[in-house]
Subunit: 516 residues, 2 copies
């Protein structure tokens, strides 16, 4: 221990993070963070997961936070590094995942000189963070880090970014700071419970997300309310995490395509919200509304984003006299030999999924049938792209596997999206994570072709060419091998089913390029 | 043509860009840019180069702008896409390369609803742009784009970002706008020329960059001034572009390592600046200054960043009575068979480089000897990482090759840095560019190990492990093959020399993993 030697700012932060329960740091450091690398090395208190690109570090931190249900910490380098990290900070923020980013900046005296790497670090952090601060002294640095951690763990969880000039890390005078106080939920409003109970009926939808979906008992109670009152239960299109599968109640999601989303919500005159907000269309389209609930729909927030959703559900079930209900869904048959269609992919996944697996969903268009089919699959956690910034699947899978080393991870990954953070495969190999990546290889940004039609275009060859990925064809098996991940290319649905099951049963990462 | 049909905003922008001389668009579009994809398709006016990651698009635009000496245009998607683009916007900005980024945002009416992809687009643009605006009407959209182009082409060149809500693209009422006025240089200060002439002597350094280095006559005139007066000529560590090699005068660069940089500049009592600013250390280090010129050094700006550097040099040479001087440097011998050391790499490159090639330098530590050796190589343009945000080499090479299809491109690429924008190899294959990428494969962030020692650390095993890339080893030949680029791994210096020459003589991209 270093009790008798003067402690620098970096070491005080590392020791404080450890004291607050942090155990892992997802890192892509540069020169301005060398004091942290040194402190992490000397103390041995945190496990460092190295990423070859910052977006891998933040995406992995998001996956870690979702599965560990605790804060994830990253170590990043200056404004351009933070920019590289931004897209997956955005996804984490939209997931309301607790994340602390430590970002090195130039030493205070160096910042006015417009050095090559000088840029506005706080400015780069702001669009993708809920909380931003720049530390100003070695003595206060650890306390700032604990404030960042407190912000990340508040209700709802947040993305907090602490900028750290390099000299604060190397200056002596670091002081270990106590952990932040535990976060409190907003109190449950008894009157809202009464009003929600009165609203329940066949023209009512209960929309829920957040911690409710991470609590199978709460979902079963919602299903009980549905059976008792005729109300419908739905979740947003994207959610931080959903613990589901056989033995657990299912919930429909609001569909992604604007037409289907409006249709799914059209029957409802009343909506009760539990840990979510009124659903919004992903994009605006000519002649379509942005808000998805029908005009004039009465909306009641039973529990806000800062509330205890499962407690609110329990209170509502109690008031409605409803018990927990789990309707069993059959596990689909394994797919017969043949082409890998979306339905065959869904059947293969549902069959092959072992108990207690984690499914990471960035399947975009090709995986549209998997959600429905896996309601009858072995119990699993489902985590997915929340902020629409593609390039999150491979990193999410890395972080989930680091958080839960005993749970196999299946990453359903669209090909176009995979290429944004393909470097994450290397970190999967380095960490020996049991991640099976299934690349849904259709050689196109299929979803953008649909979007092109949705805006009223009548695309010609060069427009479609801009959305095609097959000139040249991406060989994901070769790319993965180049990063230390073995794999194979599969064109048959029955083989795919066996290959997924085999890969998940084996330790270490594996990649399957499923030709669709 | 569409003269008789109402034109939407997107088409008016495409037609105006074409009218102003823009011919290429580096694109990674999403839903909010589908109107542009449609307009590009229907008009057929711009060549679209598709990137699989936004940082490839902006890095390629930078390389294009540097070699075309004209504006480059990108098409990007919302705040997270802009974040992905940010690091290479930063490098372009530090290079003072002319770049216009068109970034789609949600439709105006959709922006208040916190949709999954909603984030502050202008905020994400600001840290990496010199000019930011959000268009507000379809009718004014093209005029905004021409303002952006004018900002990009001003002196010095700038990075301009125009945010475009999706509905402005699809709304009718687009109006084609005239090109911006040609940019003007700041006038040359005759008094500054006189004062600079008086300062010339052995204790004077002339520091120059920008357009001077792109004008071999100006560099030769500077060399003549040096011969005549004893003054020394130096360039900053990183520059937008330098046209150099046999038959052209050479210039020393300020070294990157802080100790060598201070030593190189220590003899000078006077400094004359031509299209550059006083040199600054890359990073701050404990006990070292940030500004590199000796304390008390007299500094005169002969030509600012907004001036005509070559004209200033011509005036100074005239005043000093100096002619143009080119000192011939011998081309190094080809390296003998043996291990690929930095010196052997340098000799191989200098030997193999064909006339009129473009060298892209993101070689970081392993390529340190190449600069010196190539002064005697066939004439070439040298472009390099300017903002310190690694992950620029592969994209720069792509863009340079698109700008100059008749000039072979050699990309000297450090392995760790290569992984940030490795997706650019696919675009190189798709566009059939004659880029030969040499990966300097040492399996480590070597430069960070030096930085770790520079901050006074005594690193242990886990610190060094965090800077190593060899667990697992990256197989760049496999990765490249997976993206359609053939290649081979080479461990012998003589073989390397032959392989570089062969690859540059053949059309299409090729990758050599040089094991160092």
């Amino acid at each position: 221990m270093h009790d008798t030697t003067p402690m620098n700012g970096a070491e005080s932060v590392v020791r404080s993070l450890h004291g607050a329960g942090v155990r892992v740091c997802f890192a892509n450091p540069g020169t301005s963070e060398m004091q942290f690398v040194d402190a992490l090395d000397r103390t041995g208190l945190l496990r460092c997961v190295l990423a070859l690109f910052e977006g891998v570090a933040t995406g992995a931190a998001d996956g870690y936070a979702r599965m560990a249900q605790g804060p994830a910490v990253t170590l990043l380098h200056l404004a351009p590094g933070l920019a590289n990290a931004g897209a997956n900070m955005h996804n984490a923020r939209k997931a309301r995942a607790p994340m602390v980013n430590l970002v090195g900046d130039h030493a205070v005296r160096h910042r006015g000189h417009d050095a090559p790497l000088t840029a506005d670090v706080e400015g780069a952090a702001a669009p993708f963070s809920d909380w931003v601060r720049t530390a100003t002294s070695a003595a206060g640095f650890a306390a700032d880090a604990m404030d960042a951690l407190g912000a990340a763990m508040s209700r709802p969880n947040r993305v907090a970014t602490l900028v750290a000039p390099a000299d604060l890390g190397w200056d002596a005078g670091g002081v270990v700071a106590p952990p932040p106080p535990p976060p409190a939920f907003a109190a449950l409003d008894a009157e809202a419970v009464s009003r929600a109970a009165e609203m329940l009926g066949p023209d009512t939808v209960i929309l829920t997300s957040g911690r409710v979906l991470e609590t199978p008992e709460a979902v079963a109670q919602l299903q009980g309310i549905a059976v008792k009152t005729g109300a419908r239960i739905m979740a947003p299109t994207s959610n931080r995490r959903f613990d589901r599968g056989a033995g657990r109640a299912g919930i429909a999601r609001v569909p992604y395509p604007i037409g289907l989303a409006l249709e799914a919500l059209s029957p409802f005159r009343k909506a009760v919200l539990v840990e979510t907000v009124p659903p919004v269309a992903f994009f605006a389209y000519p002649g379509r509304p942005s808000l998805l609930l029908p005009e004039g729909c009465e909306v009641l927030t039973l529990s806000g984003l800062d509330g205890d959703g499962p407690a609110a559900v329990a209170a509502l079930a109690d008031r409605a006299g409803a018990g927990a209900v789990v309707a069993e869904t059959a596990r689909p048959e394994a797919p017969p030999p043949g082409r890998i269609t979306p339905a065959a992919l869904a059947a293969a996944v549902a069959q092959a999924l072992p108990a207690n697996a984690i499914v990471v969903d960035e399947s975009i268009s090709g995986g549209r049938d998997v959600w429905g089919a896996t309601q009858g699959a072995a119990p699993h956690s489902w985590i997915s792209l929340t902020g629409g910034a593609i390039g999150d699947g491979i990193p999410l899978a890395l972080g989930a596997a680091v958080a839960c080393p005993d749970r196999p991870v299946l990453c359903l990954q669209a090909d176009g999206s995979a290429m944004y953070t393909i470097q994450g495969l290397w970190s999967q190999a380095r960490e020996g994570t049991n991640v099976t990546t299934v690349i849904l290889s259709n050689g196109t940004y299929e979803i953008l072709k649909n979007e092109l039609f949705a805006v009223g275009a009548n695309p010609g060859r060069s427009a479609l060419d801009m959305l095609d990925l097959d000139r040249p064809r991406l060989d994901f098996v070769a790319i993965a091998r180049g990063m230390g991940v073995p794999g194979r290319r599969i064109e048959d649905a029955a083989e795919l089913c066996t290959a997924i099951a085999d890969a998940m049963a084996e330790p270490g990462p594996y990649l399957i390029e499923a030709v669709m």
